[in-house]
């Protein structure tokens, strides 16, 4: 599968996300109006975003006032946010409280799937800069927010400045994150190497593991992700849950079903209702042919994080149980919201179903302008193939395969495109490779793969 993949990056107490899927931000006219009011030009907030409600109520445009405006919510983290806001208001030098507040907003964004909190984190950074120009702490916070908002080039610039100024492990981590998203895997790996040499821990191990996986070293990825998982802490349960979730995916790809389930269970023991872990758990059950069990878990995952990737798995599972009507409702939602929630996955979805190919291509092309990683090249290749532009699709597919990523969906797409180019031998090879790890594919993709293999 295409690991759309929130390689969640967690940095010490600072939860950093480069969640390529989860953090795609919904666009809403009302939110845009609000953002116009607050002076933001490109930000997009999910409709009904609690963060946007908080911002709307602030009646001000100054970063500090926005950062310190009351936010709704009654969970533990909301109380901590309120406490830090009060602390920042009282302090003669509020920089530390603002920094902590900013990272707490980052954490809240990740836990709530409400990307508006990233904008609040960005306001914390801006507020810190009004107190202390050239604050490295503010720069790091801002850099991670920009990275999370898919403004990778801007984030890279800040990361390079941080590396030049002080070169702390987090600085190299941010630099690597931005480079990974832009498809510069070797440069990213070099930055991550600096990071792990300075500080071997969950954050650097997860990055190293991801590089291994992306470059086709599944065994190494599992080994390093195990290191990451054991370095996790109950005090930062989501980070540990993330590492175990990634480990579960790797184990699933390795065909280690029991280990995959154990890893997703471990993730859920750290963070109850962790959507990413529920998704992997559901996928593993689907791989075992336990569609009925999978549906319940995938429903929960998709309700927690209603993004196309989650909904696509749920819809396929529902179809596998014969519940076509429920599947269609989910698929309608993918079509309605996918373009804003996660355009790359929607492009893949449309390409797979042969629907609205022009829209799929447009979405993939737009995505490629933001990031040039292998999965975006794959989405573009698949969209081009859906339009019958096979030679161009083949070119993009080569770029998608350039890092040697062992990914069932990449292989499947490569096989289909090669077949349509008339390259039967190559097509057979790719399809067989995909079949070797078919448990990573959606049921609908597995059906199509079998059809392709039969033709070959």
């Amino acid at each position: 599968m295409t690991e759309g993949m929130g390689q969640k990056i967690v940095m010490g107490k600072k939860h950093i996300i480069t969640n390529f899927v989860n953090l795609r931000i919904a666009l809403a006219p009302a939110a845009l109006a609000l953002l116009g009011f607050t002076g933001w030009s490109v930000a997009k907030l999910r409709p009904g975003s609690k963060a946007s409600v908080a911002i709307a109520g602030s009646r001000t445009t100054t970063p500090c006032a926005l950062a310190l405006a009351p936010t709704p919510g009654n969970e533990g983290i909301d109380g901590e946010i309120a406490r830090l806001q009060q602390q920042a208001k009282r302090a003669s030098d509020p920089s530390r409280a603002l920094e902590q507040l900013g990272w707490l907003f980052v954490k809240k964004a990740r836990l709530s799937y409400d990307a508006g909190y990233y904008k609040l984190a960005e306001q914390c950074a801006a507020c810190m800069e009004t107190k202390q120009a050239n604050s490295a702490e503010a720069l790091l916070l801002r850099g991670h927010v920009l990275d999370s908002l898919h403004r990778f080039a801007e984030a890279e610039k800040l990361a390079r400045e941080l590396v030049a100024r002080r070169g702390l492990p987090f600085d190299f981590g941010l630099l690597g994150d931005t480079l990974m998203e832009q498809g510069r895997v070797r440069d990213a790996a070099a930055a991550y190497q600096k990071m792990v040499d300075l500080r071997p821990d969950l954050q650097s191990y997860t990055r190293a593991a991801h590089v291994r996986w992306l470059t086709g070293d599944l065994k190494g990825a599992i080994e390093l992700m195990r290191l990451a998982a054991t370095a996790g802490s109950p005090r930062d349960p989501e980070s540990a849950a993330w590492a175990y979730t990634r480990l579960a995916l790797y184990e699933l790809q390795a065909g280690e079903i029991t280990r995959a389930l154990a890893a997703s269970d471990a993730a859920l023991s750290f963070q109850t209702d962790y959507a990413a872990a529920l998704l992997v758990c559901g996928r593993t059950l689907m791989a075992q042919g336990k569609a009925t069990e999978a549906v319940e878990i995938l429903k929960r995952a998709a309700s927690l994080n209603p993004l196309p990737e989650y909904q696509w798995h749920l819809a396929d599972a529902l179809r596998a149980t014969g519940n076509v009507a429920a599947a269609q409702l989910i698929e309608d939602e993918i079509l309605q919201r996918g373009a804003v929630n996660d355009p790359r996955t929607l492009a893949l979805y449309l390409g797979t179903r042969g629907e609205q190919p022009e829209m799929a291509l447009r979405l993939a092309e737009e995505e490629l302008r933001l990031r040039q990683d292998v999965f975006t090249h794959d989405a573009l290749a698949w969209s081009l193939a859906a339009l019958g532009r096979i030679p161009e699709a083949s070119g993009q597919m080569k770029l998608a395969l350039a890092e040697g990523t062992k990914d069932a969906r990449l292989y499947f797409h490569a096989g289909v495109i090669a077949n349509r180019l008339g390259q039967k031998h190559e097509a057979r090879k790719w399809c067989k490779d995909a079949a070797g790890i078919a448990q990573m594919l959606l049921p609908s993709e597995r059906t199509e793969l079998r059809r392709q293999l039969a033709k070959l």
């Binding site: 967690v10 071997p200 291994r212 290191l227 054991t230 005090r235």
Partner: protein, 489 residues
């Protein structure tokens, strides 16, 4: 309210505003080393809490006992599975002798490496398969063993001293013998005065190693005590205070080192500890043949360091806390002397002397716990002076020298008083030493001129003892709190 107390409160309030590091648990930051530097706080298996080092005598033989705690604020009620020593961490307790003490250089490093195995992996019962009668029996599914290796840094020679087994974590009914009446429903047994009184699991886990060493590694009650919450709550100290570590466990590694292994007892030694994790190869573009020979693992990289209590937590500025974690004491003079000689905390406490604190620097630079091996064995804390079964040793004081608890040295006379030196920290550190009160008292006093010592009355946080009694026998820290009936809200 006396003036001194007001000073403490005012100083601590400023401290709160100035020193809060960026952690998710900011109110817990200044707790011994339980939450010291930002980068290490979320790696609890490698996060050191405290280091202990003191002279002990047993059957006429003298030992340097050293101990290292990890897993700060280990919540008993969170379950047994998440708290174990990490097979991937290199735990080291370092001892400097001779000239190495002043240089901050480890002469010997005692390395502990753990290995985790399961009797049955086809079960969800990760830690226990049944009631554990004896350590390592069929009821204990997760079993950790460890090796202790002595590294002589002068010549690189390694000596495997032996191995041990880690007792189970205290879960309650699965581990009844930790608990009062050997009943898992009851609270954990308190510390004891004699080896014979130790609980079954602890007794069975004390490992006799080669060359006269004794080792223990396992879960214990966290013996650090202080009202950290009040200190950070705008220094709104209360009387009585509340032990912020009360009810929490940690994982302890303890080692009795025969002093002959260190070159005899007529010397001062220095002790500190580190934890390290391996770096890894991020991008593996080697040929397959090479991969067979070389594993992913790179060199160990130090991720945490601990010497005297409260140095990195209380004196080193936020910007340098992570630097401290990854550097060696050999660099302390260059990097951290300024924090000891001009301690910000002294200013916040309105101490009479705030600069040129050579007395404070003498303790912390380099940051080794200095232990005079020439004294007799230390006096131990038990369950308080009036405890009928396990009283403190006569003359013991939690305040060490500030409470009149002294030992006589045969090799030094730093106070020009005939060689009497502190009975506890900062001459070594015992379980039970009230290091917060001792440190604050030292800061508001002036100990620079041995002929004109100015000592203010001991001040502190109104937490004067641990929530559990200490044992007066190895491994000293009390049995671990029972998960079944200990959970913090």
């Amino acid at each position: 309210m006396n003036t001194l107390l007001r000073k403490v409160q005012r100083g601590a309030a400023l401290l709160l505003l100035a020193l809060l590091p960026g952690t998710l648990l900011p109110s817990l930051v200044f707790a011994s080393s339980h939450m010291d530097a930002p980068l290490i706080t979320l790696d609890p298996a490698a996060n050191t809490t405290d280091v202990y080092a003191f002279v002990d005598q047993d059957n006429g033989q003298k030992f340097l006992t050293v101990a290292l705690g990890v897993y700060p604020f280990e919540e008993p009620g969170i379950g047994p599975n998440k708290y174990n020593f990490d097979d991937n961490v290199l735990y080291q307790i370092h001892v400097a002798t001779g000239r190495d003490v002043a240089a901050g250089r480890a002469t010997f490093s005692y390395q502990l490496r753990f290995k985790t195995t399961f009797k049955n992996k086809n079960t969800i019962l990760q830690s226990y398969l049944g009631v554990i009668q004896n350590v390592g029996d069929a009821g204990q599914n997760l079993v950790q063993t460890y090796t202790v290796t002595k590294l002589d840094n002068r010549n690189g020679r390694k000596t495997l001293l032996g191995s041990g087994i880690v007792p189970p974590n205290n879960q309650g009914n699965a581990t009844p013998y930790y608990n009062q009446g050997d009943n898992g429903e009851n609270p954990a047994k308190d510390g004891v005065a004699t080896e014979a009184e130790l609980d079954r699991y602890t007794k069975e886990s004390i490992a006799q190693l080669g060359n006269g060493y004794t080792a223990f590694a396992g879960q214990r009650d966290d013996g650090f005590y202080s009202d950290i919450q009040a200190v950070f709550d705008l220094a709104s100290l209360r009387n009585p205070g509340k032990d912020s570590q009360g009810g929490f466990n940690l994982h302890l590694m303890a080692l009795e080192i025969p002093v002959r292994e260190l070159g005899g007892d007529q010397q001062l030694v220095g002790v500190y500890a580190t934890t390290s994790r391996r770096s890894v190869r991020v991008l593996d573009d080697r040929r397959d043949d090479d991969k067979k020979e070389n594993k992913n693992n790179g060199p160990f990289v130090q991720v945490a360091r601990q010497g005297n209590p409260l140095f990195n937590e209380g004196l080193v500025a936020i910007a340098d806390k992570d630097v401290y974690s990854r550097t060696s004491p050999t660099q302390d003079n260059q990097l951290f002397r300024k924090y000891a000689e001009t301690p910000e905390l002294a200013a916040l406490l309105n101490a009479a002397v705030q600069t040129n604190r050579t007395d404070i620097a003498g303790i912390y630079i380099p940051d080794l716990i200095k232990v005079d091996l020439s004294t007799t064995g230390v006096r131990f804390a038990g369950g308080g002076a009036g405890n009928p079964m396990n009283p403190d040793d006569p003359g013991y004081s939690r305040l060490s020298i500030f409470g009149g608890d002294v030992l006589r040295s045969n090799i030094q006379d730093p106070f020009h008083n005939g060689g009497f030196i502190p009975g506890g920290w900062p001459n070594g550190r015992r379980f039970g030493d009230d290091v917060l009160d001792i440190a604050v008292t030292a800061l508001v006093s002036d100990l620079r001129d041995p002929d004109h010592l100015i000592i203010h009355s001991p001040i502190g946080d109104n937490v004067d003892k641990n929530d559990m009694a200490f044992s007066k026998v190895f491994p000293y820290e009390s049995t671990p709190q029972n998960a079944r009936n200990h959970q913090h809200p």
